[in-house]
């Protein structure tokens, strides 16, 4: 007689055994998130939003909640971009005071542990936490909200201009065990304020681990937030990260996402332009190689009139890797005079690499301007030949073209040392991919290039 073995619900034990963290309202929210996750379950490829990205290996791996680790300091010492005078370090989802430095925060800016902020800045946290990261349809956001224990908290008071970038570094993993962390960030930029924030994700180990990150950013009236996400997880790690943004009237928000690491990566950027005259830029540059998968989904919701949005996502694919880009633009009925532009380009270095890309426009207003374009291709042979006739060899010519391709996104980074660090890391990783391409070409005994 066959017995039906009921498959244990994903993360069931972890959710059941989660320790309480904060005040009543917070625990209620977490409880609702846990219940919602139980209903939604881990997405499958039958879900439209996850069609090309199979995340079942994440549940199957049965990651345990990560505890504290030693050795994070060593990893921080290896960071290519380490210039920020204000740095928050979150290790396996927990704020680490000894590795963080907050002394040079200007007056009007508060930065530190999210768990501590639950009591120290209770009013701000209660007012904003969970208000833009909607988990009703997003399982991983629900899981993060249910399991969140700590994270980064950043509050910029009205009118405060923060000159120096603030760096939040998330270190995840543990040698010798399969762990996961659910780091959270809450950023509130008051009216008329200005701040640049860098969020970096790195691994504490080369072993597999799972980072499930959620960041919420509220951009107040006439405020300006320049955000950078740098994903450099270990090459065996799983990263599911979402940035949820709410912009008020006349607010300006830009996010630049750089994805260089991870084995299976899903980046989501959601922006709701909820005040007239707002401006939102979402740029991305990613490198997918070996047999990795990098999936970028963006959603820009023009909820009010006279807002502008611009998106440029660029990917370089090598090996037998895969990439996904899905850019959704929603223009609500009252969002007249919307100006939305979306471009995504992919450069394929090998025949084995694949990208699936889809723009989605849902337009309900009638006086709008929405353009989108996608281009997928290989390096331009005519351009390479032209450069060679000027004396640059094949590798130099190819490098120059790839620099040009990536440069469009790199050159928009408004933090010089970060830009340089990203360029160096990208090209170091690319060098390996290109060497592989060259080796394959020469063994295939093609005519010498």
């Amino acid at each position: 007689m066959t017995q039906l073995i009921e498959k244990a619900p994903p993360f069931g034990t972890v959710l059941e055994k989660r320790p309480p963290v904060g005040p009543r309202w917070f625990e209620d929210l977490r409880g609702r998130a846990a219940a919602r996750f139980a209903q939604l379950g881990v997405p499958t490829v039958r879900d439209e939003e996850w069609r090309f990205t199979n995340v079942s290996p994440i549940a199957a791996a049965e990651f345990a909640l990560a505890g504290p680790i030693s050795g994070a300091a060593d990893r921080l010492a290896e960071l290519a971009y380490a210039d920020a005078s204000v740095r928050l370090v979150i290790v396996n989802g927990r704020f680490d005071g000894t590795l963080s430095r907050t002394k040079l925060l200007p007056a009007g800016a508060r930065a530190g542990s999210l768990a501590a902020a639950l009591t120290e800045h209770a009013d701000v946290v209660q007012r904003y936490f969970g208000q833009v990261a909607d988990f009703s349809q997003r399982a991983f956001a629900a899981l993060n909200t249910a399991l969140v224990q700590d994270g980064a908290f950043l509050h910029i008071a009205d009118g405060t201009i923060v000159e120096e970038p603030i760096h939040i570094v998330y270190v995840t993993g543990a040698d010798g065990s399969r762990v996961m962390a659910h780091p959270r960030a809450l950023v509130v930029a008051g009216a008329g304020s200005q701040v640049r924030i860098v969020e970096s994700y790195i691994g504490a180990t080369s072993d597999a681990y799972f980072t499930n990150a959620v960041s919420e950013i509220f951009v107040g009236e006439n405020a300006s937030v320049d955000h950078y996400k740098v994903q450099q997880e270990s090459f065996d790690a799983f990263h599911v990260g979402s940035v949820h943004v709410h912009t008020a009237r006349s607010a300006s928000f830009a996010s630049h996402s750089f994805s260089l690491g991870g084995r299976l990566v899903r980046n989501d950027a959601f922006a709701i332009l909820d005040g007239e005259g707002g401006d939102c830029t979402l740029n991305g540059l990613y490198l997918s190689d070996r047999d990795r998968l990098v999936d970028n989904h963006t959603t820009i919701d023009h909820a009010k009139a006279h807002c502008g949005s611009h998106e440029v996502y660029k990917g370089i694919l090598g090996g037998t890797s895969r990439a996904v880009f899905n850019g959704k633009i929603i223009v609500r009925q009252d969002a007249q005079k919307t100006d939305a532009k979306q471009t995504n380009r992919a450069l394929l270095l090998t025949d084995g690499a694949t990208i699936n890309t889809k723009p989605q426009l849902e337009i309900f207003a009638d006086d709008v301007k929405c353009t989108h374009g996608a281009a997928i291709g290989q390096l331009d042979d005519d351009a390479i030949f032209y450069l060679r006739t000027r004396g640059l060899n094949y590798a130099e010519s190819r490098d120059m073209l790839i620099h040009a391709f990536a440069g469009e996104i790199l050159n928009r980074v408004r933090i010089e040392p970060l830009r340089d660090a990203l360029e160096a890391e990208l090209f170091e990783q690319l060098a390996r991919d290109l060497a592989e391409v060259d080796a394959r070409n020469s063994t295939a005994s093609q005519a010498p290039r």
């Binding site: 331009d380 450069l387 006739t389 000027r390 004396g391 640059l392 073209l401 620099h403």
Partner: protein
């Protein structure tokens, strides 16, 4: 300097050059004229090493070395320059950056020290005067948003910077108005020297009023059918190409 013997070249499976013999001595300017389809541009592209042009027979010696055995970039570093008929636009590759890299690649090959940014800019300033190139072009992408005339001037400007031993101009005059033509010709003439040779491929005689050739060759159906002095160009202008093909 350049010796072409019995050169046969195929493109897209079709034989275009059917046995070209041509000798260009150092310091000479040779014009290659001919009707459309005669193989003029094919000759230029084959000399530059374009991958889509297959040499099926013959030899090309440059300064005594086997040119056909060299990759396109090697030929460039050895001193061969090709001014394209349709220069490609390479957005995102900064003109200044690219030119400095190209120049330094050549200097390295010749055992010279590389130029730094300041030295390079000083050199550029001097060379861009003759062609009336606006300095702003340096910060733009290669040929990005350039008009046809600007692209051709940029080709000659690059030539001036790289100081080749042999410059091949592939229909540099096509699409130019008389003012642009004069500028381009002035740029070329400023580079004429006893150590430098030019192969000027052109359909129209007009350019040769400004860049006066030493020898004129007429290409027809993949072969050089007539060679002469500069008067030959004038005769072609008066009589057209028909009488040559009839011969």
């Amino acid at each position: 300097m350049l010796e072409i013997k019995n050169l046969h070249v195929k493109a897209e499976g079709k034989e275009i050059l059917k046995g070209i013999d041509l000798t260009v001595n150092t310091g000479e300017v040779h014009a290659i004229m001919g009707p459309n389809g005669s193989g003029k541009s094919t000759l230029a592209r084959a000399l530059s090493g374009h991958p889509e042009y297959e040499v099926t027979a013959g030899t090309v010696t440059f300064d005594g070395k086997d040119l056909l055995d060299m990759d396109p970039d090697e030929r460039a570093r050895e001193g061969v320059f090709m001014a394209f008929q349709y220069p490609v636009e390479i957005a995102g590759v900064n003109n200044a950056y690219f030119l400095k890299a190209a120049l330094n690649a050549k200097r390295k090959h010749l055992g010279l020290s590389e130029l730094d940014a300041m030295e390079f800019m000083a050199l550029v300033k001097g060379k861009s005067k003759v062609l009336e190139m606006d300095q702003s072009f340096l910060s733009r992408g290669v040929n990005e948003g350039f008009s046809g005339g600007e692209k051709k001037r940029n080709e000659i400007f690059q030539m001036a910077l790289l100081e080749p031993r042999l410059a091949i101009l592939d229909e540099t005059d096509s699409g130019l108005d008389i003012d642009a033509l004069k500028l381009v010709a002035a740029g070329v003439n400023a580079m004429r020297s006893p150590d430098r040779s030019f192969v000027v491929v052109t359909h129209y005689q007009r350019l040769l009023n400004y860049i006066v050739p030493d020898v004129v060759h007429v290409l027809s159906n993949g072969r050089i059918v007539k060679s002469g002095g500069k008067e030959l160009a004038l005769e072609l202008e008066a009589r057209g190409y028909g009488w040559i093909e009839a011969a």
